[in-house]
């Protein structure tokens, strides 16, 4: 029984080790995520300027009561923020009534503010009264193009079926968005693309698009001299801005709730458009815009600090390194044992390689989105660095598994025979002979995984994981090339640095290759 017994033990050992490691990695992630000191109020905002400004305003108001506020700007889209609010990842964020009725509670046909309050109460969430302005949707064209074609209302679009439409992805999906608009106006256009809101302005300007969706408080409407077409059938619902907050914030910090409630009816449409213009067109940091607004309108001494560029880069670097190193490290611990098993059993090996290969082909955004409900179901954080690290981990598996497998299978037959003939235990053969001989190949796999991860991790910003993707996203939003480069250049440098580090490691760690 001796050898068979050994083999069993070794295989069990490997699986156990894999499970333990995964557990430790998960714990580490949780600890990190839960590492928030006593009681600051956590604020989130959406990935567009107005939401970031409203986040800063709320933060400044709360700080004026003496409580610390953390604003996680550009946290994500509606679903991500609402999910984060429910799971206590954040305490409050700015939202719009139309989004609540048509996206969050789509299909429930909520009409009044009372209806909304009731629906939210079931989720232990409350809502402030509207801040004042109504930032509803509109369809916009350049004034030049609309007068050329004689288009003033949305109904007028019916006579121009060849126009090219470009809408934000949210607008394409939501129940008051494009599908419903198309139906209620009977619009014939087929050439409809989904793209980032900030990019759509540029596409419209360059003539690549004819029509885009607008928010009525967008600063760009005046700046680009756009024509917001009249909604002559009253299709779009009202989008009054409000703050959504967790009910337990009232007991935890009633002052904070009082402070943000004071903001009701303080911001009308021209005010909001002006605030947006200052941030977006004059490039004034949102924190300053918020401070000045509170000083001038509410006579409140607000002192939101602007993070220096160096501090930003350093923070993004730490976030990025954390994402990449945690995911790569966990992948090494899981993928090498899988590669070893795959090399020992041909049939199982092919199946394992096929599975990690398929995982690799899931588009990164799809994977992030697919992960969210799964993580929520098992009680892990579904936004932030947890899903980002898991996605990166999944993508790291293939190169490491494949290279481990290839390295082990590629050990020259004479060496394998000599090892077997010695009569070492399977474990000793694996650790003292096989893995060292495959080390060069395994290390090459880890290198690929790590370098690719540095690039992939920039996508983490889409789900509030931070990292170098954050300034890139903000840069796109603000059309600020310096900000884009502030993320892109360090990301590229980190990729090169990672590559070089592994090249050097290879020279020192990997034992002399067999003489050719």
């Amino acid at each position: 029984m001796r050898t068979t017994h050994h083999q069993k033990v070794s295989r069990h050992g490997i699986t156990n080790a894999a499970i333990t490691t995964l557990a430790i990695a998960t714990l580490a992630i949780q600890c990190h995520a839960a590492d928030v000191s006593s009681e600051p109020v956590k604020i989130g905002s959406k990935t567009f300027t107005e939401s970031v400004i409203l986040g800063e305003i709320a933060a400044a108001m709360i700080e004026s009561t003496g409580t610390r506020a953390i604003h996680r700007a550009e946290f994500g889209g509606t679903q991500i923020l609402f999910q984060a609010l429910k799971t206590d990842e954040i305490d409050l964020y700015p939202e719009y009534t139309g989004t609540i009725t048509h996206e969050i509670f789509a299909g429930q046909n909520l009409k009044s503010l009372d209806d909304i309050d009731a629906a939210l109460a079931k989720q232990n969430i409350k809502m402030t009264r509207p801040l004042g302005f109504n930032n509803t949707y509109a369809l916009g064209m350049t004034r030049q193009r609309s007068s050329e074609l004689g288009i003033n209302t949305i109904s007028d679009l019916k006579n121009h079926p060849d126009l090219r439409f470009g809408f934000s992805n949210e607008f394409l999906d939501r129940d008051d968005g494009w599908p419903a608009l198309k139906k209620s106006y009977n619009l014939p256009q087929l050439n409809v693309a989904g793209l980032e809101h900030a990019l759509a302005y540029r596409a419209l300007q360059s003539g690549a698009l004819d029509v885009m969706d607008l928010y009525t408080t967008d600063a760009e409407i005046a700046y680009y001299d756009l024509h917001a077409l009249t909604d002559d059938r009253d299709h779009f619902p009202e989008y009054y801005a409000v703050y959504l907050y967790r009910t337990d914030l009232e007991t935890r910090d009633s002052q904070a709730v009082t402070a943000i409630s004071r903001l009701a009816t303080t911001i009308d449409n021209p005010t909001m458009t002006a605030l947006n213009a200052r941030a977006k067109l004059d490039r004034v940091p949102e924190a300053i815009v918020a401070n000045d607004f509170l000083n001038q309108t509410l006579d409140i001494e607000a002192n939101r600090a602007v993070e220096s560029r160096t501090a930003q880069i350093w923070r993004n670097t730490k976030e990025h390194l954390f994402l990449v190193s945690t995911s790569t490290f966990a992948a090494i611990l899981v993928a090498i044992p899988i590669g070893v098993i795959a090399s020992k059993r041909r049939k199982l090996g092919q199946a394992l390689l096929a599975i990690v290969g398929i995982l690799q082909t899931i588009p990164s955004l799809a994977l992030l989105v697919l992960l969210m409900p799964i993580l929520a179901a098992i009680g892990l954080r579904s936004v932030g660095d947890t899903p980002a690290i898991i996605a990166l981990f999944v993508y790291s598996l293939l190169p490491i598994v494949r290279n481990t497998h290839a390295g082990l299978v590629g050990i020259p037959a004479p060496l394998r025979e000599s090892a077997d003939a010695l009569g070492l235990s399977p474990m000793a053969t694996l650790f003292q002979i096989e893995l060292p001989l495959a080390a060069r190949s395994i290390l090459a796999g880890v290198k690929i995984a790590a370098v690719v991860n540095v690039g992939f991790a920039t996508l983490g910003a889409l789900i509030a994981a931070g990292g170098y993707g954050q300034p890139i996203l903000t840069g796109i939003r603000l059309n600020d090339h310096t900000l884009i480069l502030q993320g892109a250049i360090p990301a590229a440098m980190l990729a090169i640095l990672t590559q070089t580090t592994f090249d050097i490691l290879e020279r020192f760690i990997v034992p002399a290759a067999p003489h050719k």
Partner: protein, 255 residues
């Protein structure tokens, strides 16, 4: 033959790969304390026979005994500790120094450091190998030195059986003859049971107490060397002998 005089016994052992028969039903004794040489043309099954004995491959039919006990999956690890195995070019692990290559099994079996060092010195004098070679990696050694290291590794636990698969095959003629002399001295001094593969007839003649000639996976003749010349069992034996004579020494002086 009694068990006392026979270390390894093959009974009707054959090995097939798919529809290729690498070794036809073969019965063979490896006598204790003697050197048995397997000889034959390339592809005739010599290495297959050796691999079967140390169970790197398992027989398709038949059984193999070691000191009368059948080889099984369960006892092979212990039996391998009693067998030294050397292949062409040594089969040394490139990531280990010569010293670590030689001592790997003893370290795995938790022999004491002082025992290991004592044995290392002994073998270094026996083979012989210059001391400074021990800290080099295999790629930093000459072919002859590599074979000496491989032999030290095979001999380290003082095995009952040495299996050598063309141990001198990759060496140039001068080193080869030097190592031949050293090897035979070692075998004589240790009176080990040796089973050695070669396709060189003069080398076989030099080492063999017993010579086994294979052709196409089957033994054509076994016995002492002179039987091949004086009492060929088959016309192939004569053809083989003559071909080798021609190749090695046209005058026939060495044989």
């Amino acid at each position: 033959m009694t068990n006392r005089n026979t270390l390894i016994q093959l009974k009707a052992v054959s090995k097939t790969y798919g529809n290729l028969c690498a070794l036809k039903s073969t019965t063979l004794d490896i006598p204790t304390g003697k050197t048995t040489v397997l000889i034959g043309q390339s592809g005739c099954g010599k290495s297959t026979l050796l691999r079967l004995i140390i169970r790197l491959i398992t027989p398709t039919t038949g059984s193999i005994t070691f000191e009368g006990n059948p080889l099984t999956e369960q006892n092979i690890t212990t039996i391998r500790h009693r067998i030294g195995y050397v292949i062409q070019d040594g089969g040394l692990f490139p990531h280990l120094t010569a010293r670590d290559n030689v001592t790997i099994l003893a370290r795995h079996l938790k022999h004491t450091k002082s025992d290991i060092n004592r044995r290392l010195d002994e073998l270094r004098e026996l083979t012989p190998l210059p001391a400074h070679c021990l800290d080099r990696h295999p790629t930093q050694l000459s072919g002859g030195q590599r074979q000496r290291v491989a032999l030290m590794r095979a001999l380290f636990l003082d095995p009952d059986l040495l299996l050598l698969d063309e141990p001198l095959g990759a060496l140039d003629p001068i080193i080869r003859s030097e190592l031949q002399t050293d090897l035979r001295d070692i075998f004589l001094r240790l009176s080990k049971t040796v089973c050695m593969v070669t396709h060189d007839l003069s080398e076989a003649a030099y080492f063999a107490d017993k010579i086994v000639l294979l052709q196409d996976g089957k033994i054509v003749q076994q016995g002492i060397f002179n039987d091949l010349l004086d009492r060929p069992a088959d016309p192939f034996v004569t053809r083989f002998v003559n071909a080798q004579r021609g190749a090695i020494s046209p005058s026939g002086a060495t044989l």
